[in-house]
């Protein structure tokens, strides 16, 4: 930084926000991360992932299917949502395949950068705000249309090899930097896993670490 830098120095790095559209805890985090980032003058880079791919490496199972733990998790999610003041409605099928939703967001980041986050929020709202079904490309295209994204272009993109490859590459890169669940945040190289680490993340943003 120099004194004649009227902007007040280099912009801070964004918060990388990794999430699976099928993750209820990811949905809860998505309701809070934007406001928190703004408070600390950060952007948020929304990065959909597929837990199913990551679980092949970590050996994890879908949380809600696990004996004993699944029942606890469902109760914990709903209790945490109430504590956060967020309405949540579980979709009928859990977890659900979120490939079209994830591909659509990466494609939108490149082609409709001003609407990509709006699309991600709308997809999450459909799944967990109303308990809707976003598994199929048709649902994703419809929701994209509602936020002003050209449905025909998205429809073509979802079948495109480059768009498919992009999601694979992003998930591989996420694993390389240590992403093991959803939600997962990285800020200035520091990783935070879980909606229950939002308080740690906020303190990190405020203090620069401890």
């Amino acid at each position: 930084m120099s004194d004649d830098d009227a902007t007040g120095g280099e912009p801070k790095a964004p918060i990388d926000f990794y999430f699976d559209f099928s993750s209820p805890y990811g949905y809860l985090a998505a309701q809070k991360i934007g406001e928190m980032a703004q408070l600390y003058e950060r952007e948020v880079d929304w990065k959909p992932i597929l837990l199913g791919v990551i679980f092949k490496t970590t050996g994890a199972q879908p949380l809600l299917d696990i004996p004993i733990k699944g029942a606890y998790a469902r109760r914990d999610m709903e209790r945490m949502a109430r504590m956060m003041g967020v309405a949540i409605t579980m979709p009928e099928v859990m977890p659900f395949p979120s490939i079209p939703a994830a591909r659509a967001v990466y494609w939108a980041k490149d082609t409709h950068p001003g609407q990509a986050v709006t699309l991600a929020k709308a997809l999450y709202d459909e799944a967990f705000g109303t308990g809707g079904d976003i598994r199929d490309a048709d649902a994703v295209i419809r929701i994209a249309g509602e936020v002003g994204i050209d449905g025909a272009a998205l429809s073509a993109a979802l079948g495109d090899a480059a768009v498919k490859e992009r999601l694979k590459t992003e998930i591989e890169a996420a694993m390389q930097v240590g992403v093991c669940g959803s939600p997962f945040f990285i800020v200035d190289g520091e990783p935070f896993w879980g909606v229950d680490r939002l308080d740690h993340l906020e303190r990190w943003l405020a203090t620069g670490g401890w």
Copy 2:
């Protein structure tokens, strides 16, 4: 309650505190639960468990051994310890077998009720306060002696079939009420898993739920 009940009503139920002596997050929770319980006029019932037994049902693996997740967890534990203001030193072998320690605590609850919690804290302190080794019966007996428990009696107890059976029964009962990890708390039937749920537990104690 009646007006002539001079004690102010029935005592509140204790907080059931389930933990594995090999669990770093359990150690962190153990540093805080007593003070929190006291604040809300609760006792704490310290209940050692063996995650290895529970993981046979939930299919979980020891956290620190899991690809990607293990590296994150080690970082998270140390960061959380610093945030909580708790010194933590990892034992060389992680996770370690904690059977003698767990058996000793249940035996002490029956035979030395005034010293059982002191013993549990001393065992945790040895393991994670100083990074010591509490795997063997000899170590457990030595630490018990330091808190005023008769070593010869404990030594005999650790080989006793009834003491072995007691731990099995306690773990089975824990799973029956939904215990799937360490630390795990149950208060008035409400379950809380993880040191990162201490804030939820405290709010529950303060408000009676939400």
